[in-house]
């Protein structure tokens, strides 16, 4: 962990501004009328971007051993992606609802 490579406070402040801008962008997207799937897609991409900055810089993952990134992130994402198999069912739920 070469702490020399670690960015200075200036960089962090810059990233902080970027993250706030991303949140502002999310709000902007919310108030633009667009199809729901596009809206959800955009807002999730923005959230993941923001979280990426958080994990890589604020939580220093970029400056730790790459092994940490390559085990923790894929495994967590793998588990969450597997959980995605509930969506076909959720859509069916609406279709088969008794009181639709």
């Amino acid at each position: 962990m070469s702490s020399e490579r670690e960015p200075s406070m200036k960089v962090y402040v810059g990233l902080w501004v970027v993250m706030i801008l991303i949140v502002a962008l999310e709000i902007l997207v919310t108030y633009r009328h667009m199809p729901t799937d596009l809206f959800v897609g955009l807002i999730l991409i923005l959230a993941f971007l923001e979280a990426g900055i958080g994990v890589m810089y604020f939580m220093h993952m970029k400056f730790e051993s790459p092994n940490l990134f390559w085990t923790l992130v894929p495994i967590t994402i793998f588990v969450l992606v597997m959980l995605d198999q509930i969506w076909p069912d959720a859509l069916r739920l609406a279709r088969m609802n008794l009181f639709r």
Binding site: A47, E64, S65
Partner: protein
């Protein structure tokens, strides 16, 4: 496993493949685990939302603004936490404690703002099981459930930071604890980055 081939008889102390201190590794693992916990909650909430036909979109502009302010506060607290960690790395105890103090303050403001919003909503007739707008009560249950668990994390983070400040000040904990507590605090921030769009923005009263 990497160096098992390189000299089967060389007696070496094989380092952790992550090159991390144990407690830092544990915090990372805990974060992964907690991410799944929040993930499962958000997935469950979204599952019910996708399957429901009478969803309500209750958040007016003022709530979104309030949420934005809370987000900025939490992001800022992450920044002050970073400053505290950097100060601790330089062994500048006084500065570190000051930054931790700022972080605690911001965390508390976040919690207060959050609770204020909650009570505002209770006043409008919202409850865990009740949606005064007549739509699916799952919105209320999901909102209070997810933000509640997040608030619990914030509050325990504030408590952890306070304990850290005291024990770091009197020398019972060394500077590495500042870093691990900081990781946890950033994670709390990270969760909010998903809670805000999924629970607030997707329910803004524009749709």
């Amino acid at each position: 496993m990497s160096e098992s081939g390189a000299g089967a008889h060389a007696v070496i102390m094989e380092a952790s493949p992550f090159g991390l201190q144990s407690k830092k590794l544990v915090i990372w693992l805990f974060i992964a685990s907690d991410a799944i916990t929040f993930g499962a909650l958000l997935f469950g909430y979204s599952y019910l939302r996708l399957g429901s036909l009478d969803w309500s979109y209750p958040f007016e502009g003022s709530s979104i603004l309030n949420g934005f302010i809370m987000t900025v506060i939490l992001l800022t607290s992450s920044l002050t936490m970073l400053a505290a960690v950097m100060a601790a790395k330089r062994d500048n105890k006084g500065q570190c404690l000051r930054w931790i103090g700022f972080t605690i303050l911001l965390g508390t403001i976040f919690a207060v703002l959050h609770l204020r919003e909650w009570f505002h909503m209770f006043g409008e007739g919202w409850a865990l099981y009740k949606n005064p707008l007549g739509g699916s009560p799952i919105f209320a249950a999901g909102f209070f459930g997810i933000t509640g668990l997040h608030l619990l994390h914030v509050i325990s983070g504030v408590i952890a930071l306070s304990i850290l400040a005291i024990r770091y000040n009197n020398g019972a904990l060394d500077k590495t604890y500042v870093e691990t507590t900081g990781l946890y605090w950033h994670f709390v921030d990270l969760v909010w980055m998903f809670v805000f769009p999924i629970v607030y923005l997707m329910n803004a009263a524009v749709r």
